[in-house]
Amino acid sequence: MKTFQKVVLPAALSLAGLVSQQAMAAGTDAGKSIENTATMSYAVNGSTSNSVEAKTAFLVDVKIDFGWTAQTALNTTTAETLDAVSYYKSGPVQLSNSSNTKAFYSIGVTMIAKDGKFTVNSTEYTATASSNSTEIKYVVDTDGDGDLTDETVKSTGSTGGLLDLTADTTSQNLYVLIPSASVTGADNNILGMSVTAVAEEVLITGETVNRSVSDDSGNADAQQTIQFVYADAGNDNSELTYVGSTLSGIPDFSVIPDSDPNNDGFVKTSVVLSDPISLVAGTRPKAIPGAIVRYTITLKNKGTGNALDVNISDPLDTITEIEFCDNTADTNCENITVTTDDGSSGTFTYDTSSSTATQVYVHYDTFPAGGSSTITFTAKVK
């Protein structure tokens, strides 16, 4: 049994700030003529005259309404090979197009680094320098089968490949791809990523040629920004860590190795509460099979921006299993608790698929800048 006080970056730990748009019905097709016809009947001197008709019409204009919602982020350090290139894959972001016509969007990605340099293909990102990178790609799971190998990898940026979405598209998953071979950075570097979609063209029903979206001022929601925060999967302080966040206010859960843990964004500690042998009062319990261990995960958002849609997942060590009071008669158990300094609480679950739960999951809708939270639970040493 490891007892440790160290960085906790579990495999599924991921944070995603997001802008969410509820998908709405697209409405009447762009280009449709709406005609009004009024008819009048009357009489003059007791004689009925011929009825009179009047008409007017206007065309329905293009309404661009793009929405997206960050889904539970993936373990981004797992590279995936697409078109013979290995990428760090981030996302998914669930897309919707509530426009009243087929719309084509360019996908832009702007990045900014924090706490050190972060380089993608020799383009260096710092805390003060943000820019687009032609290296960044994206891919959409158009058929929804979860397999991206049959999808087209497209370039980001205004000259990159356009994302086309038919009207009333409610859910397609987009992933941002960073070539893993071209990324260099020190562990615990932070990379903020802002993904933007801009409507470039539309195809109006009944027409065969796209029209450029030259004046987008009257169309809300044509451009959206979404931020990702990544974290390492390794839990070994050796892998590349990259973390994304907002560009204007950056949430920061980073850790500084070998420094005061009170200054760290993630800290996990454990203490052995009891063991089956050390029954004498005052005897320090040992982490032996059957021992009950209390884990404490402390999170602090040291940054300047709120972190949204924060998911904490802690898969336990293989030699422990969660010991919740709900599942055991052991009097040393403790149910999971989540406390936050602002009085709000996260929602938490654990794997109930088996009697030996091995993973804790906690979700925070909003983790405020400067806020902190503590998660505690117990586990039994197998």
Partner: protein
């Protein structure tokens, strides 16, 4: 010359019906006022998209020499739009509505719809037609207007 005179003689009856009718569409735009209230402005129907309000104005003018009586204006709610409740106006008229394609008309409070054997009050978006019956004759040279609003589906 005879031909020309004949043509001129026909012109008035061809160009001017005794009572003429026009209809115009407007995009209804909420405009904040200095006192904090919001007023609706009827503007040219440019950049109308789903969800927008559109106002229709129907204007009648008696161009004849005699009063026009028993004037009834009938206006189907345009396709791809929904009537906005209580939006129909018309001075000196009785306004009724239809929910069955213009087969019958009734006041809004009396309109019902039967669904699965149950009868309920009709919703404004279920109206198919609007009808104005003018209560008084329109004298020669006089004019008037009626209006209603819809929302683009």
């Amino acid at each position: 010359m005879r031909t020309l005179l004949f043509t001129l003689a026909l012109l008035p009856s061809l160009v001017f019906a005794e009572v003429s009718l026009t209809t115009e569409a407007f995009k209804i735009v909420p405009v904040p006022q200095a006192d904090g209230t919001v007023m609706e402005e009827w503007q040219a129907p440019e950049k109308v998209v789903p969800g927008d309000k559109v106002g229709y104005r129907i204007t009648y003018s008696n161009n004849g020499k005699d009063a026009a009586e028993s004037i009834v204006i009938n206006n189907p709610v345009p396709d791809a739009t929904s009537y906005i409740a209580n939006s129909a106006t018309g001075a000196g008229s009785v306004i009724t509505y239809s929910v069955n394609g213009g087969q019958s008309f009734a006041k809004a409070s009396e309109l019902t719809v039967t669904e699965q054997g149950k009868t309920r009050a009709a919703k404004a978006e279920e109206y198919s037609h609007i009808r104005w019956q003018l209560t008084n004759p329109v004298e020669a040279g006089a004019s008037g207007k009626v209006e209603f609003k819809v929302r683009v589906n």
